[in-house]
């Protein structure tokens, strides 16, 4: 089940809210939320739910053991072995086929290629349990004693399928007891409505254009069309994922949780490093805290650490060499930026912003094309194409001109331009308060209308 489906919106969500708020008892609420989360997962993944429950049991036990033996070698061994088992499960299920293909290229393997489907959300919940185990080992958090509460933390439907990667420390208190007031509910409603609209009315519309311009015979594309196609993919990717994160954060608020922000207007970034401080923040922080800093951070082998982190980030996104290439591309860019900082500091903001956007949009090609032949052809096409026809493009641009304006409006970091005390912002927020309920209702209505009309509606990030 995905958030942007009629079944979720008008069947699962109302039912889960009714059951959750039927009693004020915390234990009852946790039980119903866990059951609904398991149903949510089992809806799409009837079989691999056992893997998720196994992961929860394993890490629940390991967490208690590590805390009990805190400071001893046993704790270290238990921490390392639990992290390794978690990673091995991730590798086996996500990278099994990829490893098989690559090993089989050099040595003929005596068994068949694994053909399992990728368990939904495995990349997200594996990182969540790793952070949980390492944080207990570091004595930054206390292990959860109640197995039900721990299962709820792992399986919360709000983050299970496509993140964000929620740290235990962020919601530890809310797991035990949640207070919900009108303000939090209202904030959740607004966030969810915006997220749904971003997914359905922007990402899906961009998806149609992506399909038209990239999922085609590449030799038919002119350079301008190629750039347009990859720009639309950048739009789709951002609105798809940030829309999902908005919905997750909004839904969490409706049930009394506070998730951290996962996006902060990334397309307003003025450097590649700045971009990734704004994009998929929970993943960036995970790699920072559990890979980059333990490897030495900026104290020793800084360049190597940056490169390794980005190479791994690339692989996290998918079991294919193009994702590794994508990671390496950013690793190199980050290192170059670090060494060229003195130039960037003196560069006018508009140039820094343009440079960042260009590199980010270009990187989407590495993300989109899993076939290297196609990728090479497409990259060539970006700079030179034998076809110079742009007739279809012109009509597509004019047919989406207001929609593009909306995309730009959503990408502008208004909250950074007008700080909290800014007079204009204070006035605007005050007036908007009256409009907000109706704007949200409109967003929900438009999204529902498009969902009723649509049949094709997958979330891109569920494949990770």
């Amino acid at each position: 089940m995905v958030f942007s489906s009629l079944t979720f919106l008008y069947f699962f969500l109302p039912l889960s809210l009714v059951f959750h708020y039927a009693s004020k008892n915390d234990l009852y609420r946790n039980i119903t939320l866990t059951i609904f989360s398991l149903v949510f997962y089992a809806w799409a993944e009837p079989f691999w739910i056992f893997l998720m429950v196994f992961t929860a049991i394993l890490n629940y036990g390991a967490g208690l053991f590590i805390e009990q033996r805190s400071g001893s070698h046993y704790a270290k061994i238990a921490m390392i072995s639990t992290v390794v088992v978690n990673l091995l499960l991730l590798i086996a299920f996500k990278y099994g086929g990829f490893l098989y293909d690559n090993l089989n290229y050099f040595i003929s393997l005596p068994f068949d290629k694994p053909t399992n489907t990728l368990p939904i959300g495995i990349s997200f919940y594996t990182f969540m349990v790793i952070s949980y185990i390492v944080d207990i080992y570091r004595r930054e958090i206390k292990a959860q004693r109640n197995p039900l509460n721990f299962l709820m933390f792992i399986s919360l439907f709000q983050h299970l399928v496509a993140g964000p990667i929620v740290r235990y420390s962020q919601i530890e208190a809310q797991i035990a007891r949640r207070k919900v007031d009108w303000s939090q509910l209202s904030s959740g409603v607004t966030r969810f409505s915006i997220g749904l609209f971003k997914k359905v009315a922007i990402a899906n519309v961009a998806g149609v254009l992506v399909d038209k311009y990239l999922n085609t015979q590449l030799f038919e594309l002119s350079s301008v069309e190629s750039w347009f196609g990859i720009l639309m993919f950048s739009v789709q990717l951002y609105f798809d994922f940030s829309g999902y994160s908005d919905m997750a954060i909004g839904l969490a608020k409706l049930f009394g949780f506070d998730f951290h922000e996962n996006f902060r207007h990334p397309y307003a970034a003025v450097s590649v490093a700045d971009f990734y401080r704004r994009w998929h923040i929970s993943l960036g922080k995970f790699f920072r805290d559990y890979v980059y800093i333990p490897m030495g951070g900026n104290r020793k082998y800084h360049d190597r650490n940056i490169f390794v982190v980005w190479f791994l980030t690339g692989f996290w996104h998918g079991a294919n060499w193009n994702f590794a290439l994508w990671g390496a591309y950013f690793g190199i860019l980050m290192i170059l930026e670090k060494h060229m900082k003195f130039i960037l500091d003196k560069t006018p903001r508009i140039f820094k912003h343009s440079y960042t956007l260009l590199l980010i949009v270009f990187s989407r090609a590495l993300f989109y094309f899993t076939d290297f032949k196609q990728l090479r052809y497409f990259v060539g096409n970006l700079f030179y194409s034998t076809n110079n026809s742009t007739s279809g493009l012109k009509s597509d641009i004019s047919a989406h001109i207001f929609w593009f304006a909306l995309v730009v409006l959503f990408c502008i970091p208004w909250d950074e331009i007008f700080h909290k005390e800014h007079q204009f912002r204070v006035k605007a927020e005050k007036s908007y308060l009256y409009l907000q309920p109706f704007v949200n209702a409109c967003l929900i209505f438009i999204s529902t209308m498009l969902l009723v009309n649509a049949t094709f509606n997958p979330f891109l990030y569920t494949r990770f």
Binding site: T7, P14, L17, Q217
Partner: protein, 437 residues
Amino acid sequence: MNKKINVLLFFTVLFGFPLLTLLLPKVDYSEDEKRKLAQFPVFSWESYLAGHWTNKIDKYFDDHFPFRRALISWTPLFHAAKGFESKNEERVVVFKRKGKSPKEQAKAEIRDTLTFLDEFEENFSGAMVIIDGCVYPMGAGSPKMGKAFASMVSEYAQRFPEIRVFSAVAPLSSAFIPVEKYRHYNTKNRNSLLAIKNNLTNGAIFSDVFEELNNHSRTKLYFGTDHHWKPIGAYYAYVAFCKSAGIQPVPLTKMTKKVKYNFVGTMYQYTKDPTVKAHPDTMEYWEPQVETVATNLGSQSTTKGTSAKVFYETSSGGNTYSTFLGGDHPLMRIQTSVKNGKKAVVVKNSMGNAFAVYLISHYEEVWVVDLRYSKQNLAKIIREQHINDLVFAVGMYAAMSNGTIGMMRRLAFQGGTAEKGTKALKNTTRLGTDSIK
């Protein structure tokens, strides 16, 4: 207060729709979609574990959503609000029937300057739409003529039961006009071609060229300045043929790719529209990696003729499409390095030129018969050359005209060496040739 309104309004919508789903009367059939709406699925572990049960529930909710019909009908308002619709440089030009005005005489002169004349120029009259420099004919054949074409192909299948007879008719480019309001031409083309499929008998095989092209309609399959399909369009027709013939199509990556630029073809000559001239076509084409010896044969001999080629690298300008087989020749024999003993005859008009060249990967000999110009007896060729497959690879205009259908019938009887055929076939042949006159 506003926060409460915000939450309550959201919950009203959130709970309102499910309540209406329960309260409103159930509809089992959608008139607009002409289909039965999804039923609530019966649970079984097998269905659940395969993911079917939950999928069916999703479909059930989708199908029975309150005011579904109204919501669907309002969706175009959202799409219209995204920008300006119909911003294309679009205009419709109408051509009168030939010979009816001095203008038509001028057009006849234009035709004389063209290297490859065929029934398109001969027969076409009517409207064309020019969108951003690309010309599309506003026609789509008819199911009635599809039936007539199917009847002719079926007669060949009846007469030559020892060989496979294929119908591989190309739709018009009107099927793929990239503007929503002309979408109905897609359905019309499909219906005309489906009429062929539904009326083929005697084991004649239908190659679903339309479906294959339609699956790739995002790609530009036809030239904008010419009435032919692009080599990529012909390739998908070849894929459709391969599927129906049970052979594996050669991927484009296994062929040698070449490109020709600045092709301004018949449609410009026909329309003289400056926007068409301003959008010359680029022709990318693929040569199968097969050695060939091609011979253009005259009206008598099936062995002696003049040397020819499958691909004419030097064809350029207005003759770019003549790259394939050098344009239209009455009869061409292509011998290939594929030594599998299989032979095919392709009966074609000019649309078939770009198609026939792909077949050299699968046959030891390919005989290319131009339905308009060949003087040799097709029945004799089939018998004497031990042909395995006979393919009618023509454009829509050849398949949808009594005149050209008659020409295709006549191929089996002409040249004074016709073999004995059925009485019915002879009669229909006469009718066909009569209609040409």
